[in-house]
């Protein structure tokens, strides 16, 4: 086997050392931007909403990406991709936490009664399955039931702040 072929095969099984730190840093960029924007007063007319929305958007993007990793690694026959799943999953969790903190602290002012009441109301809302379908493309890919449920819940929680029609 020639050296170049071996190198290519190696790339498929395990990424070079710099890949993970680079992706790790990239995953922190949205957080860094929001932090800067909050201090620089660049979050627009409704800063609380901007924080909640953009952290929520990143959760959904991350979720879709994580769920795509396994089928993608099979399809392009690059098992190394699966090794990114845990890190990306933890970043989703990180942005979920930021999302919930922004909501509880900046929108609700840590008013527990209002938070519980708001949660009850949005869980009462109509099914937002179609919203999820639109955002996550096709649920048929989402192989983990729990993650599916979470994605749906995440979208319905976020939908309180989207267009009134949704």
């Amino acid at each position: 086997m020639t050296e170049s072929l071996r190198r290519r095969a190696g790339w498929r099984i395990r990424f070079p050392r710099w890949v993970k730190p680079t992706i790790f840093t990239a995953c922190l960029l949205p957080f860094a931007y929001l932090l800067w924007a909050a201090f620089a007063n660049q979050l627009g007319a409704n800063p609380a909403e901007t924080l909640i929305r953009s952290t929520g958007d990143w959760v959904l993007r991350g979720l879709c990406l994580v769920l795509l990793l396994t089928p993608l690694s099979n399809w392009i026959q690059t098992p190394a991709l699966v090794s990114l799943r845990r890190m990306l999953g933890l970043f989703v969790y990180f942005y979920v936490t930021l999302h919930l903190i922004s909501y509880a602290l900046f929108d609700m002012g840590l008013d527990l009664v209002a938070i519980v009441a708001d949660g009850l109301m949005s869980s009462n809302a109509r099914s937002s399955r179609w919203v999820c379908w639109r955002l996550c493309c096709s649920q048929r890919w989402l192989s983990h039931r729990l993650t599916q449920w979470f994605a749906r819940w995440a979208v319905s929680g976020g939908s309180s702040y989207t267009a009134p029609s949704m």
Binding site: G44, N46, E49, P71, M121, C137, W141, S160, S165
Partner: protein, 321 residues
């Protein structure tokens, strides 16, 4: 050597890889497109705002001079709901420069003795322009305080002489596919329509609005002429109006048609009547306080109960939401 598989992928997923490929392609292409669009929006020349100063005097109408802190012009012109230009709050600011506001005519018709087509200049001269400072409460749970310019809609309606059978006023706004990219959004039945009971339309606080902040209206705020009904949720205050029609039957209204159990015909601001999906008890006042500002308690009829409460005497406001 067998590749270790952490999770067995279902056959159906495996078979969908072609679809996946196609969709990945579309996503990547649209991602690039969106990125380019965002860069373009930021780098092209500053927002075209063909606004000119407009002379006015402070309104003498009771309740028309709110003492709340007025929102900065920047917030009032960059954070808007005007779905004809898109559903994002920043879409109207980014897209509304396309709107052509001159020439502009408003047809006032229906159950009136003198149906009339008014040129926008006629409307600007019809009655002296007043400045009114109103609280604007959006159904989504935020509010701003805006200094509007205009006069009571009753002045215009009186000019066309309503007939005795007229009970309602319907408003229809512009729907122009050439200039309004948001019309592709299917959630509402275009053109946007709104309506009031005739006595609501004749109330002195109901403002036919031609300007704000001492100038003519910027496009994203509903240029060149809009309605402002300060005790109702913001979507009742139709923007860029082209037709006003007096009717005997309650007119269809856009949001009510789209989601009747969420948006009633009246849509009066009422902290005791929640939206089915969120509370209306409090609101976020934009333009003051920033990130750490506390939400304010929402007031019945947006704080205009003394002025408009008698319009709804004896009515069940829960049922007539």
């Amino acid at each position: 050597m067998a590749t270790p598989r952490l999770i067995v992928t279902p056959e159906s997923v495996w078979l969908q890889r072609r679809q996946l490929l196609k969709l990945a392609g579309i996503s990547a292409a649209s991602g690039v497109g969106l990125g380019a669009g965002a860069v373009w929006a930021q780098t092209r020349s500053p927002q075209v705002q063909p606004v000119v100063p407009m002379a006015s005097t402070p309104s003498q109408v009771r309740g028309a001079r709110a003492t709340d802190k007025v929102a900065p012009w920047k917030d009032a012109t960059t954070y808007n709901n005007f779905y004809e230009f898109g559903t994002d709050k920043s879409d109207p600011y980014n897209e509304a420069h396309r709107l052509i506001t001159s020439p502009w005519q408003v047809r006032v018709e229906g159950l009136v003795n003198k149906p009339t087509t008014f040129d926008i200049d006629d409307l600007r001269r019809l009655t002296p322009i007043e400045e009114r400072i109103y609280r604007l409460r959006c159904v989504e749970g935020w509010s701003m305080v805006i200094p509007w310019l205009g006069y009571s809609l009753s002045n215009l309606i009186a000019k066309v002489q309503p007939q005795g059978s007229a009970k309602y006023v319907a408003f229809q706004t512009l729907a122009d596919r050439e200039t309004m990219p948001g019309l592709r959004y299917g959630g509402l039945d275009w053109p946007y329509s709104e309506g009031l009971r005739l006595d609501e339309a004749m109330h002195p606080l109901t403002l036919l609005t031609l300007g704000m902040y001492g100038k003519t209206l910027p496009n994203q705020s509903g240029a060149p002429v809009r309605l402002v009904v300060p005790w109702k949720y913001g979507f009742k205050s139709a923007k860029s109006i082209v037709t006003i029609r007096l009717t005997e039957k309650q007119p269809k209204t856009a949001w009510n048609e789209a989601a009747p159990h969420e948006y009633g015909f009246y849509s009066n601001v009422n902290p005791a009547v929640n939206h089915p999906r969120w509370s209306q008890a409090t609101e976020r006042r934009l333009g003051e306080g920033g990130l750490f500002a506390k939400r304010l308690e929402t007031q019945l009829f947006n704080g205009y109960a003394d002025e408009v409460g008698q319009l709804y005497a004896g009515m069940d406001l829960r049922r007539n939401f």
